[in-house]
Structures are given as C-alpha cells and as structure tokens.
Amino acid sequence: MASVESQRIAGVPGTQTRQLASWLDNSRIVGIAFLLPAVLYIVLLVGLPFIVAILFSVTDVTVGDTSLDFVGLKNFEAILSMEAFQYALANSFKFTIISQIGVIILANILSIILTQDFRGKWFVRFLLILPWATPISLGTIGWLWFFDSAFSPIDWILREVFGLLGPGTLLGPAKNIVWLGKPHLAQFAVIMVQIWRMTPLAAVILMAGLTSIPQDILDQAEVDGSRFFRTLFRVKLPLILPIMIIAVLFSTIFTFGDMTVVFILTRGGPVYYTQILPTWSFFVGIQGGSLAQGAAIALFLFPLLLAVAIIMLRMARRMEVN
C-alpha cells in the first residue's frame, strides 16, 4: 500500500495515467469491464447455441449437408410419428418423477443420520457422498457389473445365499435375472442408479438446512415435551421445506438432462424401453447424423427446465424478501 502511495506522490502523473486512474476508480466502468467477459462468453456459448438449436430444428441440416434449408415443422412431425418418441418422452418423465420420489424419501432419512453424532462420521460421510462425487459414467460401470447377464453379484446372492433363483425356485428356472434385458427390470435399473447418484447431493443440501435451524427453536420444542419424530415432522421439516424444494429441483434437472446412466447401462434398450430424450437425441442427431432432428428432440427438454427455472426464481425472490 505504502509503495503505491509513494509512487503517486513521487512521479507526476501524466494526463493519460490520470485518466486511467479515474476510470479505475469509477465503479460503474470497472463493474461493466469485470462482468463483460463472462457475459459475452455465456452469450456466445450458451445463448447462441440455444438459438442455433431452435434454428436447426426447423431446417434439414445433417452432418454431411450443413446447408440450412427451411422445412418448417417437418422435423417435429417426423419425430412425433416415430415409435421411439413415445417411449423417450414418457420415459424421461417417468424416470425423473419416480427417482425423485425415491430421492426425497432417502435423502430426508440420510440427512437426519448425518446430523447425528457418531463415531467415524467423516468416513461414513465419505462413503455416502461417493455416488455423487464420482464421475457418473464410472459409477454406472459398477452397476453394469451388478446387473451383468451372467455374473451379476446380485444374481449370485439371490441364487446361492437365498436360493431364490435357478431351476425349481421362486424366481427361476433361469439361473440369471438378466436385469438389463427385460423392459421393466431395465427401467428399474436406470431409476435405481439415478436414485443412487442423486440421494447424496439432496441429502447434503438438506443437512445444511437442518443444521441451520436455530438451536433455540429446537430447545423450545424440547421444553414443550416434543419427542424426536414430533419435532421432526412438526418443527424441522416445515422449516427446511424451501431448502428441500431447492434440493429436489436440482436433482430433477440433473436427472432429466442426464444421458450417461441410460447410455452406459442400456443404450435405450431393450428396444426403446429405456430410451429417454437425451439419449435418443444423441442417437438420431450425432450417430444418425440428422442434426436437425436431434436438435428438435432435445428441445422437448426445454419446457420442464423452464418450469423449474421459474420456480427457482420465485424462491430466490422470496429469500431476498426474507
């Protein structure tokens, strides 16, 4: 600090440096200059691609022929008439909604566990956070092994430990379940991996909410003779409801927009039974080469995302007021 001061006094500043100095002191100009790079970057690489996506969806652009010829709503007509679309749209919602119900229930229990005191808590928290912290494509490989058609460890437990699988048993006669080869089980597998991955995130967000409840409110509940579950349902849960909504919204968006779990577990199969919008968009747009149709499919993600964004905005405003 002192050196800057002495420099200023020692050297007689020229007009140019003085002007620069006055600019640097002007909050407004510095503010805009600081904000501009990030805003420009986001406009160029998020805003522009979004407009290009809409543009692509009404043209016939492909990987090979990149000229943009306007075709109106033809892509949407073509998509809507495809059998895979019904599955992709329905599954996207089905997988997201069912997994979010699982996430809410498990994350609430988990967050209560994590706010208790017990031995080895740091290590337990590390193990519990792993599914979210690990790159999802790598975590899903573990589940791919669990659901293997021949050597699935789950099948082994059912067969060798509980005797539920194999000839003459409850789930037999086949020796394997073949989880990913059967429509409903494959859907179950995808939903389970999504729950597995999202529960830790939702739980730690809820945990932050629980630990931020002022102690005097909890003390008051105790003085009033409130028991554990009563305190939980009457006092704690209502207080963390806004945080819970935030946790669920994040989890919803990450699940709805994710393609990795389905891509690695099933590639949308068997047939289209686990196809979702993101994976189908990839198969049509990149592997099939029809950028236009791929972009059109991805746009079906937008309405739900918009709805979530609006809820988020409202919540943010309410918190601002508080």
Binding site: M1, E5, R8, L24, D25, S27, R28, V30, G31, F34, P37, V39, I42, L45, V46, L48, P49, F50, F56, F118, R125, F126, L127, L130, A133, P135, I136, S137, L138, I141, G142, F146, A150, F151, P153, W156, T199, P200, I205, M207, A208, T211, E222, P242, I246, G257, D258, T260, F263, I264, P278, S281, F282, I286, A298, L301, F302, M312, A316, M319
Partner: protein, 281 residues
C-alpha cells in the same frame, strides 16, 4: 432428544447407517475386490463374487496401465481440467466481484440470471455446439472441451464466489481505497486473499466437473487418443462385446476414490453454492 443416547435409537441409527453405506458404497467395494480377481475365479457362476476363491492377481492392473490408453485418458483429463479451471477463474472472479459490489440492484438480478444458466443441461446444447466445434476445426481436439466446459462451470462458480465476496465487509475495501489504492488494487490486495477458501472451492468444483462431463466429450471427441476418462473408460476399454471387467472396474475405482476424498473435504462450501447462500453449510 436425550433418549437418542439410549440403546434402541443407537441401534436404529447404526442399522440405517449400514443400510445407506451398503447402498452407496457397495459398487465401489465390488470394484476394488474384482480388480484383483483371477479370470478363472470371476467367470464361474457358482463362485462367491465377494471373496477370492483363487489367489488375487495384479495382471489386470498391469493390462490396464501397460496395454490400454488409460494413462493417456488421465493425462488428457488433467490437461482439460487445468485449462478449464484457469479460464473459469479468469471469467468468474471478476464477474462475481462486479455482481457482489460494483453494480446495484440490477446486479443482483443479473446474478440470479447467471445462476439460471447453470440449470441449462448440456444435453440441450450439444448438437449446435457440435456443429460450432466442427466449424471451428476443433473436432477431436481437446481444445473443444476446454472451450465448452466453462459454460457449465462459470455460472455456478460466479454464483458461489459472489456469496464469498458479499461476506467480506465493505469497510476493509474502503479503507484500502482511502489509502490511495485503485478499485483493482483493493480487489487484488484485500478481497482476493480473504476469499481464498472460495477460490479453492471453485477450483475443486470446476476440476471435478471436467472429470464428470460425459456428453460433450462423447460428441466432440471420437478418436481414442484424445478421449478423457469419463468417456474413454466405458467406450475404449470394452472391445466389441468383450468386457475386460477387472481392468474396467479398476479403471473406474482408481479415479472414483481420490475424487470422492477431495469432494468430501470441500462439501460444505459446495453446498453453500447449491443452496444459493440461503443457509451456511
């Protein structure tokens, strides 16, 4: 809450802990176990998959490191990660400071808008971005990832840092300004050192994000030399229909454990970002 310390609630607590830990961590435990399994042991249906029926072996780890591009995937991921962290810091720190201090009410609104960009999933934009990457001649080039990953990291990191900057008392800065410093000087000498924990969280978050990202890496890069871990492992370590399960699971768990450890250290700070500063984690 005193009865929590009696025996029955303790038992209930530990039952719940065991259930959740089994659910969360069993895939990783199985990955570690399977890494060292002999093929003759692994591929026998009757054999216990959680036990070494024949002596464990290192041959699958050797295969992974010597005969697959795994190390190449790791170095590619590191290069992309470091570059994206640098770009994110350069863009997010000034933006967050501007939003926290220098702009008025509309700054707060702009902050929320930037945060909302974080909610745009890559699966919505990968096709137009793919076209832009091809147009820029960056296909099969790690630069394509370096260019696009900050779209995911900058919004969240700007938001996270904004909270840190706001928490620093204005008086400290004003004192520096009175001492004859410029805004930028005050920012560099007063604000930056104080928000170091926030900057470290941003580095951790951004780096793990680059390791996680799948769809851009899958779409923009198609030759195995330029693949990153998240795509390289599930696509390149499977030959046709043949899964080299031990090596594959080893490849996954070797990355998973260190990332999980680092993430656990910074968890509270990241949660602050997710809750939009509504609670202190």
């Amino acid at each position: 809450m005193k009865d929590v310390h009696s025996i029955r609630p303790r038992a209930a607590l530990w039952t719940a802990i065991v259930f959740f830990v089994t659910f969360a961590a069993s895939p990783f435990l199985c990955m570690i176990l399977t890494t060292f399994k002999d093929s003759a042991d692994l591929y026998r249906k009757a054999n216990n998959p959680f036990f070494y029926n024949t002596p464990p072996t290192l041959e699958h780890l050797e295969l992974l490191f010597n005969n697959t591009p795994y190390l190449r995937f790791i170095s590619n991921s590191l290069i992309v990660g470091v570059a994206v962290v640098l770009i994110t810091l350069l863009l997010a720190i000034p933006a967050a400071y501007a939003l926290a201090r220098l702009t008025g009410r509309w700054g707060e609104r702009a902050g929320i808008l930037i945060f909302l960009v974080y909610l745009v999933p890559p699966t919505l934009l990968f096709i137009p971005l793919f076209r832009m990457v091809v147009w820029l001649g960056l296909r099969n080039n790690l630069l394509a990832l370096v260019l696009t990953y900050p779209t995911i990291s900058v919004p969240f990191c700007t938001w996270l840092l904004m909270g840190f900057f706001k928490a620093i008392p204005r008086e400290l800065e004003e004192a520096a300004l009175v001492d004859g410093q410029h805004r930028i000087g005050a920012f560099l000498r007063v604000i930056m050192p104080l928000s170091l924990p926030g900057i470290i969280s941003v580095i951790v978050f951004t780096f793990t994000l680059t390791l996680h990202e799948f769809i851009y890496a899958m779409t923009f890069i198609s030759n195995s030399d330029q693949r990153t871990i998240s795509v390289g492992v599930p696509t390149e370590l499977v030959r046709g229909d043949v899964f080299y399960w031990q090596s594959l699971l080893a490849a996954a768990v070797i990355v998973a454990i260190p990332v999980g450890l680092v993430y656990n250290l910074f968890l509270n700070r990241l949660v602050q970002g997710f809750t939009m500063g509504a609670v202190k984690g």
